[in-house]
Symmetry: C2
Subunit: 411 residues, 2 copies
DNA sequence: CAGTATTTTTTCGAGGCTCGAAAAAATAGA
DNA sequence: TCTATTTTTTCGAGCCTCGAAAAAATACTG
């Protein structure tokens, strides 16, 4: 149940608001912050001098601001990069990567590693993750004190509390509470995020004009995933990370999906499905892993001649189109970003997709729906994890006073 | 962009919180309110004495409370029925009904009227609505001053701002800004709500244990509609009321839907679709209106013998099941309430529905998904409109100080 | 029936917070 | 050097919430 606002919440929230305004704007002056937050100049002055004294914000050197106007020049406020740092851990198929990001969002350290996620036993997989984190933490160049958060991203389904991986295509293992494991191991608050959700978060930061309040990020890769932002907020299911667009039903009883069921969108539009159709294999054939290079070659063949390859992409487009149509029936149309290796073949997918969506109620204005493509998902996922972790730091760590009342983490 | 909290917002929000706690609990004592809101006893004491002085709350007569305990007895606080009143206007197929509801939620006046919505020209339809509202307002028994809000509900799509009907099956007319029309005519703030959303709001009040944070209300009637509550909040689309579950795609290119497209869930599960299938008509046959009595007779025949009638309900169940499966893939499973005349035939629908949902990713725990039925949607819609209107009064009218900063209504 | 225990509600002073107005600071132009 | 202009800080006023203590209202007890 919602709860009253106590007097001490006031400062906490307004501090968080100032920090978030600075993170968004980069180098805003106090006057600009007052304008965007709606708070008075006096309040902004008080809060920002507190934040500067605490080393969270820093005034930028004079002369850095651009065109000089008459009057006292504005002093830009920026995030102090040394105020804190966060760590991102991204686990994808056969690949593990970590990065340390300073409070201003700059990457200060990185490590990547290949491993065989599909066959790894549970302990080993967890061990690899904790080991790589530990290596970064033990780096003598790093001030360990400053790591305030870890955000881990993974392909697959996570729980809505962002504590655990429930299911993932990269491993047969299920229900690994990575967030709890990392917290127990390192004593640093951690969350376990869904990869597509992080893509959406990253897009929101990268292109705020285009992706702000309502948009959809769809991962076109081995599987089909989705990150959904509605009314400016990341959408999650009631129990899990939700948004399993790839497992909406396209054709009841249809093609065999990697999830073991039939007729899912993914069973027509996932890499393995496109490959299966392009190879004229049965729709009942077991899904197989297809490498990115093979997919690129497949797309090239499809562009060359009008054969089964092209037809396979057409079928993918149709499935995505009807799926989006159903989605749009629920949430109304919104801009879409297509991410992942098959996004590079969106030219092959788009015609059938638009044709399908035009046949649905949600596609009423299908011509006005914009599609963006971004073939490389990993940088987006990393960036999203970083921004998410920093957001937590902004909100929780640097907003003092009473702890969030329904907080999950013990102090 | 989110905005800072100003000092005067504090009282406003906490007042709203107290009012809402009273509305929810009925006759809570100050101590109970303090417990549910998390505010201190002093604060609750101060706010409630203000609210009593303003005539918004009233202390209940002593002796009304139940079991006597030791110590000073609790004094129950209740909403003062005379503090305000709201009006609901529900427009459905060939039927218009209004009600006046006092601040405590009791119906104090009603009027209903048959009319031919399908053939009525625009001016006449609007005229009927304003006329019936005017008749109620001019009732000498009614203190017009006290009507603080009008909530109008209609079958069909409304805009996400709750200002206008965009499309409705009850009339060929489109884009009628009923909220603006009523406001201009009577000078009373008004909203135009989607019928299924109001069903959901009503269920939330009627059965808070069952329907609280996440649930789905599905209207099984001529058309198929949905009201969705996620994380305790009514879900709407980005532009429209959204949640057009009936127009998710069940079978691409399939049966002809009333919306003119093909393969929508509604084209298999709407009354007209069940009728069409039961009559062994082509799936391309034009949708026709079927009366409730005819539908009840159809259900009776389906229960009697295993013929095309039963098969028609089976197909409806299948479409609903796959649709729900797709929906659950996005939002995770949640309790469902089936409302409307075909909810009375849910026994015929349920087996196929469960079978279908079990074949989807969203139906993983299909046995644990609960279905409730309620054959009569109109009372729910009315109740939802009433609660919604009262909620606005609670939040806006009785929370003084600065107006909501992005308010739509001029003071 | 008076006194005690118990629970609810109010009162009161302290401490915070935001705000508006005015002052101070810092610069460009004249 | 002086003036106009813009940004930032300072300061007192006005609210708000809180905790502690007091007051109020009742049941129990002998």
């Amino acid at each position: 149940m919602s709860v009253g606002i106590r007097h001490d919440d006031l400062r906490r929230r307004n501090r968080a608001m100032v920090i978030s305004a600075v993170r968004r704007a980069g180098q805003p002056s106090r006057t600009e912050i007052a304008a965007t937050t709606g708070l008075s100049h006096s309040t902004i002055s008080a809060i920002s001098s507190d934040l500067i004294a605490e080393g969270i914000l820093a005034e930028s050197k004079p002369g850095e601001t651009g065109a000089l106007k008459r009057g006292r020049p504005q002093v830009g406020l920026g995030l102090n990069p040394e105020a804190a740092a966060v760590m991102t851990v991204v686990l994808s198929l056969n690949f593990l990567s970590v990065a340390v990001i300073d409070y201003a969002g700059q990457v200060v350290a990185e490590e990547q590693r290949r491993l065989d996620t599909l066959t790894m036993p549970r302990d080993e997989l967890i061990g690899e993750c904790t080991a790589i984190v530990r290596r970064r933490l033990e780096d003598p160049d790093l001030d360990v004190q400053s790591i305030a958060r870890i955000a881990m991203g993974i392909q697959g389904i996570t729980d809505s509390q962002a504590r655990a991986m429930l299911w993932s295509p990269i491993t047969p293992l299920t229900d690994i509470a990575f967030a709890d494991i990392l917290e127990a191991e390192f004593g640093i608050p951690a969350t376990m995020e869904n990869d597509c959700n992080m893509m959406a978060v990253a897009l929101q930061w990268r292109q705020p004009e285009r992706y702000r309040d309502d948009f959809i990020a769809i991962l076109l890769s081995h599987g089909i995933g989705m990150g959904l932002v509605l009314k400016g907020e990341l959408f999650t299911g009631t129990h899990s990370s939700g948004g399993e667009f790839g497992h909406m039903i396209h054709r009841p009883g249809g093609a065999l999906c990697r999830c073991g069921r039939r007729g899912c969108v993914e069973a027509y539009a996932g890499n393995y499905a496109i490959w299966r159709n392009a190879s004229m294999m049965s729709e009942d054939a077991e899904p197989v892993d297809v490498g990115d290079a093979d997919m690129r070659a497949l797309a090239a063949r499809a562009r060359e001649t009008d054969g089964p390859e092209r037809e396979a992409y057409r079928k993918a487009g149709e499935a995505l189109g009807f799926g989006l149509g159903s989605l749009f029936a629920l949430i109304d149309p919104a801009p879409v970003a297509m991410v992942g290796v098959s996004a590079a073949a969106f030219d092959l997918i788009e015609p059938a997709l638009r044709e399908a969506i035009a046949q649905t109620a949600g596609g009423q204005h299908s011509k006005s729906i914009s599609f963006d493509t971004e073939p490389n998902e990993l940088p987006l996922i990393r960036e999203g994890c970083a921004m998410r972790a920093l957001g937590f730091v902004d909100q929780e760590i640097f907003a003092p006073g009473i702890q969030a009342r329904s907080g999950k983490h013990v102090a």
